[in-house]
């Protein structure tokens, strides 16, 4: 449920993650921080976090998360606050070139 304290935002994932989101490229999620958003996605699409997080409880280092086109690593990490209208992009590394 959207509230000012828990905004609902759009989260976009690349093709290789879409099997975890019922084939959708963009999903909605609610939360006050990036971490809370990722938790909410996992709530709606169980198994999502398991793909994104390592055994140490932190985001895999080959997955990049962008909040409004900025890498969250330089913007507060998973504690970065989220507001209405923000867009989150989740990008795992691609190797394909052949």
């Amino acid at each position: 449920m959207t509230t000012a304290a828990n905004p609902t935002i759009q989260v976009r994932v690349t093709a290789v993650l879409q099997k975890l989101t019922n084939g959708q490229k963009a999903v909605e999620a609610s939360g006050a921080t990036v971490g809370a958003i990722l938790d909410d996605i996992d709530h709606r699409y169980p198994g999502f976090k398991a793909q994104m997080y390592g055994p140490d409880g932190k985001l895999h280092r080959f997955v990049n998360v962008y909040l409004n086109d900025e890498d969250i690593r330089y913007a507060g990490g998973v504690d970065a606050p989220v507001k209405t209208g923000d867009v989150l992009d989740i990008l795992p590394a691609l190797a394909g070139g052949a």
Partner: protein, 365 residues
């Protein structure tokens, strides 16, 4: 004698914007005088203060430069083709032949390129990692543009499943070494290009020796170990790296300049083996390769010509399904072990161990 004189674009304004004019004279010198009579001021453009043909002007008679003949005294016959081509500053040894002037005319007439820019393209040496999905369109467009030296490194053999997207190879090439097939295709398109093939897998033992021969490196690799290897080698050798990758319906592209971030800044650690599929496992839409590949070729040419803004500190994201292009910002990570403030990597490492997977090699017959 009545001859046809080919006038290159930079001089056309002197002759009423024509590409070709008729002139009379028994020698090249006479013809230049006649051109000056027909078009006052023409001679002043092509001679030095001592009245002799300027050093930066090449004159060809029937495709042969007059320095190999009798210079301005070269005698002419009716119907001969004379061409007057300016060789502007930069690249003392690079001469634009009439064939090149016609071939690259769409470059020459753009102010951002011109004959100076075309010379830079001809003098450039670009290495392409992989002659596959991405390597194919990059190599092709760079060869078409006239990049003088194109290096291709690939140890694989053409197979039928490649033909859905690897535009350097055709059905008749199945079974052929990819670098050989690549060279044949590129030479058929533009014989001015010197294609250097490296029919070896790139590894920590040869990466420095190979990459150091080139100015710019383009990544078309298909596995993480090679990506980290090429990234490290390019940074340590201070070479720009134009990166690209594709999978299914997504593509990415960016340009790394030493000191402005590297692949490790973006992806500090590779995924565990098996977690991110390859194209062979997940598939890829063929046309994706040319979308990202031609962006990579464009980036190379922009670096060579020093024009526009390359994708430095910008990661281009391409979603083919929604047909969206987006750019996200990428930075140099001050803690990057390779290019950060306190680097710990000063030489190439064992990348297969780093990624936990062997670098795929073709099985040689």
């Amino acid at each position: 004698m009545s001859v046809n004189v080919y006038i290159p674009t930079p001089f056309r304004h002197l002759v009423g914007n024509r590409a070709s004019v008729r002139a009379t004279g028994s020698t090249v010198r006479d013809v230049l005088t006649d051109l000056d009579t027909q078009f006052p001021g023409f001679r002043a453009q092509v001679v030095d203060t001592d009245g002799r043909l300027a050093h930066h002007i090449n004159v060809y008679v029937n495709q042969v430069e007059i320095h190999s003949l009798q210079g301005e005294a070269t005698s002419l016959s009716n119907g001969d083709e004379v061409a007057v081509i300016p060789a502007l500053a930069g690249g003392a040894n690079t001469v634009l032949t009439p064939e090149m002037v016609e071939r690259y005319s769409r470059h020459l007439i753009m102010p951002q390129v011109g004959s100076i820019g075309q010379r830079k393209i001809i003098e450039a040496k670009v290495l392409i990692i992989g002659a596959g999905g991405l390597g194919s369109p990059v190599a092709l467009y760079l060869a078409l543009a006239g990049v003088g030296t194109v290096g291709i490194i690939d140890f694989d053999v053409v197979d039928r499943s490649n033909l859905q997207r690897q535009i350097l190879h055709q059905t008749a090439d199945i079974g052929k070494r990819k670098v050989i097939s690549a060279r044949e295709t590129l030479e058929a398109h533009n014989s001015n290009v010197n294609v250097q093939v490296h029919e070896v897998p790139i590894n920590s033992d040869n990466a420095f020796e190979i990459i150091s021969q080139y100015d710019i490196v383009v990544n078309g690799a298909d596995n993480f170990a090679t990506r980290y290897l090429v990234n490290d080698a390019c940074y340590l050798l201070k070479k720009p790296l134009v990166d690209g990758s594709i999978l299914m319906f997504d593509g990415q592209a960016t340009t790394y300049l030493p000191g402005k971030g590297c692949y490790r800044c973006l992806y500090p650690a590779p995924p565990p083996p098996g977690m991110v599929p390859s194209c062979a496992e997940a598939g890829v839409l063929g046309a994706m390769c040319s979308t990202i590949g031609s962006i990579q070729a464009t980036e190379v040419l922009k670096l060579v010509l020093d024009i526009g803004e390359p994708l430095v500190n910008r990661l281009l994201l391409y979603d083919a399904l929604s047909l969206e292009f987006r750019i996200v910002k990428v930075r140099r990570d001050p803690e990057c072990p390779l290019c950060g403030d306190n680097p710990t990597i000063h030489e190439l490492i064992d990348y297969e161990q780093f990624c936990g997977t062997p670098i795929p090699h073709a099985i040689a017959d």
